[in-house]
Symmetry: C2
Subunit: 321 residues, 2 copies
């Protein structure tokens, strides 16, 4: 019985039974529509790189609300933190979306759904209700503006641009895309931690390379910053004071109970920082930092995929192309 | 009896009695030494602008540890959050330093002591034990380097400088200094909230003016930044999307469950920001924003008190002059 379910392989036949026993032909048409919608807006889990809704979850959402349009109407009202169940609610669980598995009440069918994927789905449902359009199911391909136009737009924005490319590892697409996401987040975190403010990031790939593209509020930073030391009363304060006593930019001073000192930033140039720090940035395992090439500013505009660059400068949803 | 104490006026005779009954001539000499030390290092509450140790608190600390040097030895081990009592510990209280009043056990004699004043006292005690020196009690006056030297030092630092002067209000010194501190903190907060990174701040005054001096990592900021909107699922998200739909720097996008947009900073110049925002910055009540003059960069170097500028670039403790 479902009470003894242990693994996803154990569970699969129960899932199939549940769907068959709770749908008629009309509802199965609506499920197909829901899956097409999820694919079109880029939230379907089976698609690469979305951290999204599985096929089974699409089926359950449609069953729960009795059809595609009813489901879209309800989901347009969802919030991050929404809890849904059909048969029975199990133990309290946390996540952007909690959807209790009707055949295993202590499992969250939506555990893979990222907060931003859920937000996109909610937003798409709202937009669809206002303006139902074929593009939600069959989005157009975004076309790239001419190269000169992108260069002019970048110059007008006057921002920093950093393009990193890596050899594409020979692994299955789902795994690759998870690792590209992880790498994008890791580099973004590094940039922010060194004071480079990331405005937006995009990633992409072709047969040979994976690319990470970052727009920064500025490619370079001012020379000086404040560096926080230990609280005044701790043992290690002595070492900090000794180290900084002859500091070129002034002695340590007390701020909010800690020693603080004005000093030179370790890196004022984003490319130099990444070149030095990428090896311990926490990239995806299969992404080899030794294969990295760095393209900065104009070079990044010239080298980046124009569609990725257009999406960086003006992020559109798939149904808005 | 002390149990019925209500106001500080009620309390004063009990304080005087307590001190007289718990000191001999030797200990009273040590109390004078402690007060001289506190004045010298700039942590004595009766001195303007220190948010520091009252005379009564100096007396109690000396009594508690049985003399000046014993007190300094113990205070060198204090931490932010230290609790001290002589007779009896009252209700738990919070603060950088809690010193239970021996004649009113639910009062903290050290409630006015700021975290940074306490930290300075701890640090001075450590330094004094390593190198007992007359300067802890009678500090030298800091001398100003020549003007050209300060200008050269600023150019080498390549930082932003902002000097604000206000008419000196005709109020008692203690009140004035509290208001100058409040104003310094308020402007610092404004600067940081608009993205101008404050490295250090100093304040000063003469017969006619009070001055606030800020060193910034940069006087100007890059043109674009990210502006966070509401969570995707809330009602007000509609308004945010409508407002930004035709944004020059790209449509809103979803990040961490919220709408976010790349847009132009409201202010890229520190002086322009302060000029526009000073009226609702939360200055001290008696400090009139209408009397403000702003001096930027070179002008700030030329106009600022050279000692204040030297202290900004290289903060020294009074016993280090």
């Amino acid at each position: 019985t479902p009470n003894h379910i242990r693994t996803s392989v154990d569970r699969t036949p129960f899932h199939a039974d549940y769907i068959i026993n709770h749908t008629d032909e009309k509802l199965r048409d609506d499920i197909r529509l829901m899956k097409r919608f999820m694919k079109g807006i880029g939230t379907y889990g089976a698609e690469p790189d979305v951290r999204g809704f599985s096929g089974y979850l699409c089926e359950l959402i449609t069953i729960k609300y009795g059809g595609f349009l009813w489901a879209v109407r309800r989901a347009a009202q969802w919030k991050v933190g929404t809890t849904v169940f059909i048969e029975e609610k199990g133990e309290p669980m946390k996540g952007p979306l909690v959807f209790y598995d009707p055949v295993d009440k202590n499992r969250n069918v939506a555990s893979a759904v990222h907060e931003d994927t859920l937000s996109r789905f909610i937003s798409a449902c709202k937009d669809y209700l206002e303006n139902p359009d074929r593009r939600f199911f069959f989005p157009n391909k975004r076309t790239a503006p001419p190269a000169e136009e992108l260069m002019a737009e970048w110059k007008q924005r006057d921002t920093g641009l950093l393009l990193l490319t890596f050899d594409r590892p020979d692994i299955i697409p789902e795994n690759l895309h998870a690792q590209v996401w992880k790498s994008q987040y890791a580099v973004e975190k590094k940039l922010n931690s060194y004071g480079f403010e990331v405005l937006r990031a995009e990633h992409g790939e072709d047969e040979k390379k994976v690319s990470l593209l970052f727009e920064l509020s500025s490619f370079t930073l001012p020379a000086l910053f404040t560096h926080d030391g230990p609280p005044v009363h701790v043992e290690t304060a002595e070492g900090f004071l000794e180290k900084w006593m002859d500091n070129e930019f002034g002695r340590p001073f007390i701020a909010d109970g800690r020693w603080r000192v004005v000093s030179r930033r370790p890196f004022t140039d984003a490319a130099e920082m990444i070149s030095a720090e990428v090896h311990h940035a926490g990239l995806g395992k299969a992404i080899d930092p030794a294969s990295m090439s760095i393209y900065s500013q104009e070079d990044a505009v010239k080298k980046a995929d124009p569609v990725m660059l257009a999406q960086l400068f003006n992020p559109l949803m798939p149904w808005e192309f």
